[in-house]
C-alpha cells in the first residue's frame, strides 16, 4: 500500500503527464474492429486479477466525492482540477472496470468518460456526437475489455 505522501506525488505526476494526444486523435482506432482489438491489448497488459472489493470500495468513495463536488460545474476542465479526479487517475488500470460501469450514468456520464479517455488514451466521447452514442461505444469497448459485466 502506497503511503499518503507517495500517493500525492504520484497523483501530481499523473495530472502533469495526463495525455492530451487524444486531441489529435492519433491514439484513436479508426474502425470498430480496431477499437475492440485495442480493448484486448489493454486487457493483456492488466495486472493479474485479484479480489477487487478493496479497489471498488476505494474507487466508490473517491468517485462519489468527485461526483458530488463537480455536479454543479458546466466545464469538465474545472472537474479535472479536483483532488479526487487525480486520485482516480492515480488508481490507473484498477479504476477502468469501475469507470466502465459508470459511463451510462444518466447524469454524469461525461465525467467518467473523460477519466476513461485519460486512462486509455482515447477521446472521451470516442468521436461520437451524442452522449448516448458515446456511452454505447464505451459499453462495447468494455465488453471486449471483459470487465464490464461482473
Amino acid at each position: 500500500v502506497s503511503s499518503p505522501a507517495l500517493i500525492e506525488i504520484e497523483t501530481e505526476r499523473l495530472i502533469e503527464d495526463e495525455p492530451s494526444s487524444w486531441y489529435e486523435g492519433s491514439a484513436m482506432p479508426a474502425t470498430d474492429e480496431a477499437l475492440v482489438s485495442s480493448a484486448y491489448a489493454v486487457k493483456d497488459t492488466k495486472e493479474p486479477r485479484r479480489d477487487d472489493s478493496q479497489d471498488r470500495a476505494e474507487f466508490d468513495l473517491i468517485a462519489d466525492e468527485l461526483a458530488s463536488a463537480t455536479v454543479g460545474l458546466g466545464s469538465l476542465r474545472a472537474a479535472t482540477r479536483h483532488p479526487a479526479y487525480g486520485e482516480i487517475l492515480a488508481m490507473g488500470q484498477r479504476a477502468v472496470p469501475f469507470l466502465l460501469e459508470r459511463v451510462e450514468d444518466p447524469i454524469q456520464g461525461p465525467l467518467w468518460m473523460r477519466l476513461l479517455g485519460s486512462l486509455i488514451g482515447f477521446p472521451p466521447m470516442l468521436r461520437m456526437d451524442t452522449v448516448a452514442d458515446a456511452a454505447e461505444a464505451w459499453r462495447i469497448w468494455g465488453h471486449a475489455f471483459d470487465s464490464f459485466v461482473r
Binding site: 460545474l73 447524469i107 451524442t130
Partner: protein, 166 residues
Amino acid sequence: LPAYSPSDLYDRFPRLAQEAHQITSEPARYNCVAFVEGRTDQYIDPEAHWPAGVDRPSLDEDEDLPYYQTLFKHFGYEVCSDPLLEDDYVKIALYANDGWFAHVAIQMPSGRWRSKAGYLHDLFHDRLEALEGCGLAQNARPTLFMRRSRTNEPKDQEWPVILLPT
C-alpha cells in the same frame, strides 16, 4: 450512483434560493453549452465533444474563455456590450472566473434567462446574478455577452419544459 434533488441545486448555487426562478427539468447529462444550442443529447466541452473546425484549448492554456467566444461565434453569435433585451436578438451571457469559462445562460424573449446548472437541473432565472458563484468557481461572474439575430435561430431549437413545484 448519487441522486440529486433541488436541494443539491440550492447547495451548489447558494444565491438561487433568494432569486426568482423556476426549475424546469430533472438532472441530466448535457451541459449548459449544449442546452444553449438546444441540444439535450450532447455535452459540448473541450474535454468531451467539441465541434470540428473550432480551436480547442489545450490542457496547459492559461485561460479558455477566448475559445468559448470562438465556439459561440461558430454558432452564429457576435460579441455585444451588455445583457439588455433587444427584440431582434437572442443574447447569451458567459460566466467566467479569471479567464476560465464556468457557465453560459441564454436570454428568453421575455428578458429572463434560462440555464442548465452543471449536470443538475434546467431553470428559468430572472437575473443573471442568481447563478453567480456557480459550482466550484465561486467567483464566476457574467463576463462576456454575445448575441445572435433571431432570424438565424435554428428552426428545430427547443428545450424541455417540465415545470416542477418550487
